[in-house]
Symmetry: C2
Subunit: 401 residues, 2 copies
Amino acid sequence: MNPRPATASARSVDEYRDIVAALLAHLAGRPDEQVPVPGALGRTLSADVVSPIDLPVFRNSAMDGYAVRAADVAVTPVELPVTGVIAAGKAGAETLPDGAAMKVMTGAPLPPGADCVVPVEDVQAGADRILVERGRARGEFVREAGTDVRVGALVARAGTVLAPRHIAALAAVGLPTVPVLTRLRAVCLTTGDELRPAGSELAPGQIYNSNGIALAAALRADGVEVADIAHSTDDAAEFTAVLRAAVASADLVFTSGGVSKGDFEVVKDVLAPLGGTFGPVAVQPGGPQGYTVVDGVPVLSFPGNPVSTMVSYAVFARPAVRALAGLPAPEATETTLLTPVRSPAGKRQYLRGLRTGDGVEVISGPGSHLIAGMAWADVLVDVPAEVTSLAVGAPVRILSL
Amino acid sequence: MNPRPATASARSVDEYRDIVAALLAHLAGRPDEQVPVPGALGRTLSADVVSPIDLPVFRNSAMDGYAVRAADVAVTPVELPVTGVIAAGKAGAETLPDGAAMKVMTGAPLPPGADCVVPVEDVQAGADRILVERGRARGEFVREAGTDVRVGALVARAGTVLAPRHIAALAAVGLPTVPVLTRLRAVCLTTGDELRPAGSELAPGQIYNSNGIALAAALRADGVEVADIAHSTDDAAEFTAVLRAAVASADLVFTSGGVSKGDFEVVKDVLAPLGGTFGPVAVQPGGPQGYTVVDGVPVLSFPGNPVSTMVSYAVFARPAVRALAGLPAPEATETTLLTPVRSPAGKRQYLRGLRTGDGVEVISGPGSHLIAGMAWADVLVDVPAEVTSLAVGAPVRILSL
């Protein structure tokens, strides 16, 4: 009999998260990219953006009405001749004569000499004269150039995740493109002879191939471009070829499966000789973890149980991935436990939970295969490694999914 | 002198929002569509989805280890012959002989007869025999078929906005597609001779054309597919042609500009004879509003000031648009005002605000041209029509942007 294989001492969750963050750190140095403003929704500005123009571009009318000198309408009613009409888009270079009015549309340039606008509601209009019934003070209904934003002033800060209101401002100052953080390109690579594509008939022992689809969805929700969802059987040559293609087209590769203690662990078998580090993390689910740098590209190897894959991503990779996308860290808060919990000693456990008004209920069991159950969870309940049981009412940390 | 035009009595914000909702109500009856699960992130399920299979599909091992009968390992240490190896993906049809073990990989089918799994860590393995050092009870490390989800059981409910965890579950049960609400198709149509595309030189009196880009971003953020961002000058024939094309390709058309009291109001001039209703709403910004049904397609006409366009969308259209996309209503809460406010009598005012820990500060002025200022706001501060001033500390309703 051979002795049992020596168990490598397990890393803590925090240690492993830091290892993953360090592995991805160089990706912060990618060059940014210019994208058209209309397509920039949800992207993260990589630099401060300043206005190339004054806004308003020119002094203009806030109302449909008559541009006048305030002094000429100080006493009302007063009749004034109308010496012109200025539509929006017209130059408005002609000076307003003393004691006269020019008709102006909202947004049209004010004629030089005019210092206020009398709204159309406050006059009786004739063919070429108006009777002003209510005067206006200097500046009323006049929008001065640059009062919204000055040329060179900040329109949006580096790090802003662009919402419609930012797009509106960037478009208003006439910018065709803006600099944004380049999306990480990732490939998700599932392994396993037993995996079959959605919609196919399953032979005995087969299951549907879901981890790549699920991980891709999680990555996309965190601002990552998923270049491919690939698959390999447990054949080492096939896996090597698929992995090489993945590494050639991505900044970051995720594998699922093939990292445990079985006889057919293709991911570990291929990547360990390439310098990969495989070993246990003191966590449940998601204990067996591996990481490798292949041709300069980080490859994170998650275990193949569906819940393990998703929890591994959420706990180890998501903080770094979101930071690289310029997105806020996953929300982690404290709440009250509404379900009693037992947990193995020495392993930090992430249970699936559902927030209610009063706290968090643990739903679904701890099993790493309960992926359908996970659909009903909106948080992970974080049970520290040293804790073996928690009663109803205990404070617990929850991590938003 | 002609008398002033009679002012139509202004509608209230609530009345006009209801009119818009009624105008869009028929769009709730659009047929849903089937989309591939990997592309369904963020879409809204149009029907309950049930599992076509049991999950786990078959009774399988939760560990890499040895499938045994619990009775055979009740007393340890005990030596057992290993009569086979079952990898994941293999059928596992061979029955486990009494007093024997079969090696099983995580996820592999349990052989008939086996009722627990001894993890690889708990045995010393020889060439064809194992020494079991710790026994296991019936059912330990066995995942029974259907314990995650049963065939026919609910995987996700109608109305669910699909997050990665739902995608994971839908993929795990092998569904190639899911039924989702069809996205609304909208066209945004800006009008105005003075509008120029981003990046061009502005002649005197010209400004950048931003409302279509801004409105499209707001619509996309609310789950709408923007089929086109179109533009027309103030020429009625051109506007008519662009409008007809828009109506032919969309469920819903938005116009901006051309609805006020000026001499060149192309939107009103073309649409009023087609049955459009144009008139004031007692709101600031965004007072002049219009709606028309052209060839069965609702056309909402917003005023052309950039802030007016965005606030009109947020206040009048967004609730209905989000409801049609199956998205939650825009968040409206109450908070404390941190800036004193003055407001015109008889008009509900929406000021741009920024939430802080203590309440909401009004930022930027009330002017409907202050679009760059709006970029710094994350809420609209809702000042009721009858209110003319609010002091610091007053409770105010805020609407999330």
